[in-house]
């Protein structure tokens, strides 16, 4: 498992230069609540037909930072982005709320989960 930190503003460029559809498999987008104010967003990739070769791009941000969307590069990322919006209440470019949660349900259940 290899972890690479990137700046949130540079996400699209970094991933565009790294991602080749026939070499890398996009696993998912993950969020980890570090504390009440900081969120670690991870873009996880694995290499096809290689032994456990996983690369994680991550960026530490606050909960109100706009996260750039990578749907143009990787269309299947839309579903993970929608989950991230629901679970942490962070804004992601061009991604709407409401994959899992309804309006009357508990909002952003995983944000600052230590409560």
């Amino acid at each position: 498992m290899q972890k690479i930190e990137i700046k949130i503003t540079k996400v699209r460029e970094e991933i565009a230069s790294f991602y080749e559809p026939k070499v890398w498999h996009f696993l998912t987008l993950n969020g980890v609540a570090l504390d009440e104010e900081t969120l670690e967003v991870q873009w996880i990739f694995s290499r096809y037909e290689a032994l456990d070769d996983v690369v994680i791009y991550f960026s530490k941000i606050s909960y109100d930072t706009l996260i750039p969307s990578i749907v143009e590069l990787i269309p299947s990322a839309i579903i993970s982005q929608r989950e991230l919006v629901d679970m942490f209440g962070v804004p992601v470019e061009g991604t709407e709320k409401g994959l899992y949660l309804d309006e009357d349900s508990m909002q952003k259940p995983l944000a600052g989960c230590k409560l």
């Binding site: 026939k22 998912t28 032994l51 456990d52 899992y100 949660l101």
Partner: protein
């Protein structure tokens, strides 16, 4: 002539669906031109429960309840993640027994999918036949674990019960009988004319599209994309027990069925190898300490790649448990495949994906 489209929903309750999911199809005459999906009907907040309500040693039993069909993959992935965080090793007997149950689970899950695909194509008799034969594999699982569906077989540091030679013999015998039946299905799925009308050339996903949408599991392998986590991990001894990747090139429903049938045969062969060469050893090693650090574990569930990301902080409560389930990651590919197909074929196509919504919404 004006181009008017009509919206036809499929779900949330539909006769061909096992679980609640809603697809809104925008149709032009019979052809689907737009797809919108809603998958969150059975969201239970398992990820939050894992970090707020349960201690790390109980979570293996919590995540097993996400889904009845791939319960074992969930608890195994979580358990291996915790074992990695605590720097623990388990002996090869434990690994073999875990693999055995994992493959048995794959067989019964694939059989369920095949029966439902047959049912959705209007072949009720085949559905009954496969479901009847599936009972054999359920009984094998009960013999091995003591339960039919929620096995609770895997615990942190080992497995919960041993297998004696008499049981091993009975399981081998029953698997041999099952294998004969599977050859019967292969003949049916290959040669039945009415099934070929419903399956061949329908719901096609090309190899390029499979790459583009990051397809996984039998869906990807039917299109020729060689992705199988069993090939990409070394925490289970798949190389030793004769794992072979099953690929097909057509990418339609028929190809998916063929891949599943071939995988069942491969799984039966692997189970037989495991039972023949089961090493001696304890079935449980005590592990001390508290999980710390972060780890990412992947396994091949019956429907594709399952990923667990676990972060611990040296206490009994974990910081984060992220579960990426196979169906969840395949939703964009599913939506794409529906485009351009006939509405009447939608149930059969959907059944051929083998969607698991309780996994997806978790």
């Amino acid at each position: 002539m004006s181009k008017k489209t009509i919206n036809i929903p499929l779900g949330s309750q539909h006769i061909s669906l096992l679980e609640p999911v809603r697809f809104k199809f925008e149709c032009e005459n019979e052809t689907i031109v737009g797809v919108d999906s809603d998958v969150g009907f059975v969201h239970r907040g398992v990820e939050r429960a894992c970090t707020t309500k349960f201690k790390y040693d109980a979570i293996g039993y919590v995540v097993a309840r996400i889904c009845g069909l791939c319960a074992i993959t969930h608890s195994l992935s979580y358990t291996v993640a915790i074992e990695k965080l605590m720097d623990a090793q388990v002996n090869s007997k434990i690994q073999y027994l875990r693999t055995l149950l994992l493959e048995l689970d794959r067989i019964h899950s694939h059989m369920l999918c095949l029966s439902h695909t047959a049912e959705s194509a209007g072949f009720e008799a085949m559905f009954m036949r496969i479901m009847g034969d599936r009972e054999d594999i359920m009984e094998i699982q009960e013999l091995l674990t003591g339960n039919r569906i929620q096995f609770d077989y895997i615990s942190i540091g080992g497995v919960n019960r041993d297998i004696d030679s008499q049981r091993a013999k009975e399981i081998t015998l029953r698997l041999r009988e099952l294998e004969k039946k599977i050859y019967g299905y292969i003949e049916e799925f290959e040669n039945n004319w009415s099934l070929s009308l419903k399956y061949k050339g329908i719901g096609r996903l090309s190899l390029d599209e499979a790459y583009k949408f990051n397809a996984i599991g039998p869906l990807a392998r039917a299109s020729g994309l060689a992705i199988d986590v069993r090939n990409e991990i070394d925490y289970l001894p798949y190389k030793e027990i004769g794992f072979e990747m099953q690929l097909h090139t057509d990418g339609d429903i028929h190809a998916r069925n063929s891949v599943r049938l071939a995988e069942i045969l491969n799984s039966i062969a692997m189970c037989r190898n495991i039972l023949e060469g089961l090493p001696d050893g304890d079935i449980f090693t005590k592990i001390k300490g508290k999980p710390t650090g972060e780890v990412l574990v992947r396994y091949e569930a019956p429907r594709g790649e399952l990923m667990y990301y676990v972060k611990g902080n040296k206490t009994a409560m974990l910081d984060r448990v992220r579960i990426k389930t196979p169906t969840f990651a395949s939703i964009p590919a599913f939506s794409h495949i529906f485009m351009g197909e006939n509405y009447a074929d939608a149930p059969a196509i959907l059944a051929s994906f083998d969607p698991c919504l309780s996994c997806t919404a978790k």
